[in-house]
């Protein structure tokens, strides 16, 4: 910077009143059309040295603007001194650099002519109906751009304004570019939301309940992100009974929406080879990111595909605070991908508790339902016992006790080892009983259930029969019947419909 700062002297000399800042409001260069620049923006570097001159031809001697200090509206200074060109340019640069609004600004416009230098720097103009603005997009920033600039594109360029001394022009030094409209994503979001809501895509009545315990979960997400891992982790911990079928898709960028739509379509078309059933539910998930990162989930095509899915969809997009339009169209919105996984399956711990409770009811119910028959069986056995040798009866009693032991164990669910216990019990049995018991044991099969032993039919296997009167009650006394009565005789294998021909009263 030169020590000679004539503009400062000028400012001092004009004795700027405190209510009239040196930078007039609005600044004279704002809102004022620059002179149309038919050619390239000035080439060569501006504050930074550059090695080449990018543009060929079109370089015109452009005045800065019509508002050089000498034509300023500010009174009383115009003829007071003669400025050098450099003075003017430096003065302009200082003013431009001194304006906070110019240090970081967003400019929307249509790209005019574009030139890329051999070094990779890009020079272009942004224009609207009346004006244009020279822009410089250096190589480093340009290579980080999501798209190449070309004539006709509407973009929003972000950068700082500065003056290029050599050409006497001001330029936008671009840091980043985005397609026009990204600056007002929220507006677009609201507009699309309102339009789709008016169509009824977001109606609560459209939302379907989820299967309480899905067998097959469809998953539409990136195959390479952490989301897939997280969801698998949750499902493995919480409900590993489920099967997962992944339809990979891109979850970010302009190319993502069609892949998401395709993935949802594949999942809906998929039929499990075993059950021929489609997925019970689809999880559409993506990890956290910026509003722009998540934008694919605000894409109209994606939202419509979610709304139209024949399979219920649970969305888990971004973090808890992120809301995308697919969330409105989904059957259930989960705050995160992991939460979506939690939500679609039941809990293994809760299921185990339910199972224990049902088992308790089962055991209690069967206890009650066999209490009566068991009493009858005991009476029957007592009656039969009178007809048997004492030694056999003792064995029978022991066996009966053993059966009841086993029944209790069955009730406790401790079935393992029953066979070993049965074998030990058999060792204690009289030989006569042991043979019959072996047959009963064979009938137990391999189920491990002790219930066969609980049944009175185990007794029938030993050659006994249960005789019931027509009303179903078990007969223990002949005196309760008379000739001609119908009897139901239950044998170990099948039964008999019998008729009493005569009654023998026993003592």
């Amino acid at each position: 910077m030169s020590d000679d700062r004539p503009w400062e002297r000028w400012l001092r000399r004009d004795d700027i009143p405190t209510d009239g800042p040196p930078d007039p409001e609005p600044p004279p260069w704002a809102g004022e059309p620059a002179r149309p620049a038919p050619g390239q923006p000035a080439a060569g570097a501006v504050p930074r040295p550059r090695g080449e001159s990018a543009d060929a031809g079109g370089e015109t001697e452009r005045g800065l603007t019509r508002r050089s200090p000498s034509t300023s509206t500010r009174p009383g200074h115009s003829a007071s001194r003669i400025w050098t060109v450099g003075d003017v340019t430096r003065a302009m640069r200082e003013v431009v650099r001194g304006a906070p609004a110019f240090r970081d600004l967003w400019v929307e416009g249509e790209i005019g002519q574009v030139t890329v230098s051999a070094a990779g720097h890009c020079y272009f103009t942004l224009r609207d109906g009346r004006s244009q603005l020279s822009c410089v997009f250096f190589r480093t920033q340009r290579l980080g751009s999501p798209f190449e600039l070309r004539t006709g594109l509407r973009i929003v360029a972000r950068g700082r304004l500065d003056v290029y001394d050599a050409a006497g022009t001001y330029q936008l030094y671009v840091e980043s570019v985005q397609p026009a409209g990204f600056g007002d994503l929220a507006l677009r979001f609201e507009a699309l939301k309102a339009r789709l809501a008016a169509e009824g895509l977001f109606d609560a009545a459209r939302r379907r309940p989820l299967a309480p315990s899905p067998r097959l979960v469809g998953l539409a997400t990136s195959p390479s992100g952490a989301v897939l891992h997280d969801i698998q982790h949750v499902l493995r911990r919480r409900w590993p009974l489920v099967r997962v079928v992944l339809a990979p898709c891109q979850v970010q960028g302009d190319a993502a929406p069609p892949t998401i739509v395709a993935a949802l379509g594949r999942l809906a078309r998929w039929r499990d080879p075993g059950t021929m059933a489609p997925p019970d539910v689809i999880i559409l998930a993506r990890g956290g990111g910026s509003l722009e990162d998540l934008w694919a989930f605000n894409d109209e095509r994606v939202v419509r595909a979610v709304a139209a899915s024949p399979v219920p969809i649970v969305t888990g997009v971004g973090h808890e605070t992120d809301v995308t339009l697919v969330d409105f169209a989904a059957d259930v919105r989960a705050p995160t991908p992991s939460a979506a996984a939690e939500l679609v399956v039941p809990s293994r711990a809760e299921a185990a508790a339910t199972l224990r409770a049902v088992r308790g009811r089962l055991d209690a119910a069967v206890e009650r339902s066999i209490a009566g028959p068991r009493l009858a069986l005991t009476a029957e056995r007592r009656a039969l016992g009178r007809l048997h040798p004492a030694a056999v009866l003792a064995g029978e009693r022991q066996h009966a006790a053993d059966l009841l032991d086993r029944a209790r164990r069955a009730m406790d669910g401790r079935l393992a080892g029953d066979r070993a216990r049965l074998d030990r019990a058999a060792d204690r049995m009289p030989l006569l009983v042991r043979g019959r018991l072996a047959r009963a044991r064979a009938d137990l099969g391999s189920t491990g259930s002790g219930l066969a032993a609980l049944s009175p039919y185990a007794t029938l296997e030993r050659g006994y029969a249960i005789v019931r009167a027509a009303d179903g009650h078990v007969l223990t006394h002949a005196s309760g019947t008379s000739a001609g009565d119908a009897l139901d005789v239950r044998l170990a294998q099948g039964g008999l419909d019998a008729t009493v021909t005569s009654v023998r009263d026993s003592a």
């Binding site: 195959p223 493995r236 590993p240 979850v251 080879p273 089962l362 219930l451 049944s455």
Partner: protein, 97 residues
Amino acid sequence: MMETTPAVRQDQAIDELAFDAALAQLGEVVARLETGGLPLETSIALYERGVALHARCARLLDDAELRVQRLVEDAGGALRAIDLTPDDPDDEATPSA
């Protein structure tokens, strides 16, 4: 021969039942048993079935291992599923965030 009751006949299928189906059937069995008034034979058969259903459910809960597959669409549009090894961050074909 002792007639085969429906309860017995279904035993073989129990090992094929999904958890929720087995649990639902177990619930029905319990409800029938709790109603009472059943012939002993029916009670026992129901109980045996209940025990088998319970065992099926417990086994599913204890032994299940998450299975993850990945859909692949061939040129003709037909879909097939290939196993994804656990937590295999598969795939360079569909890059994304």
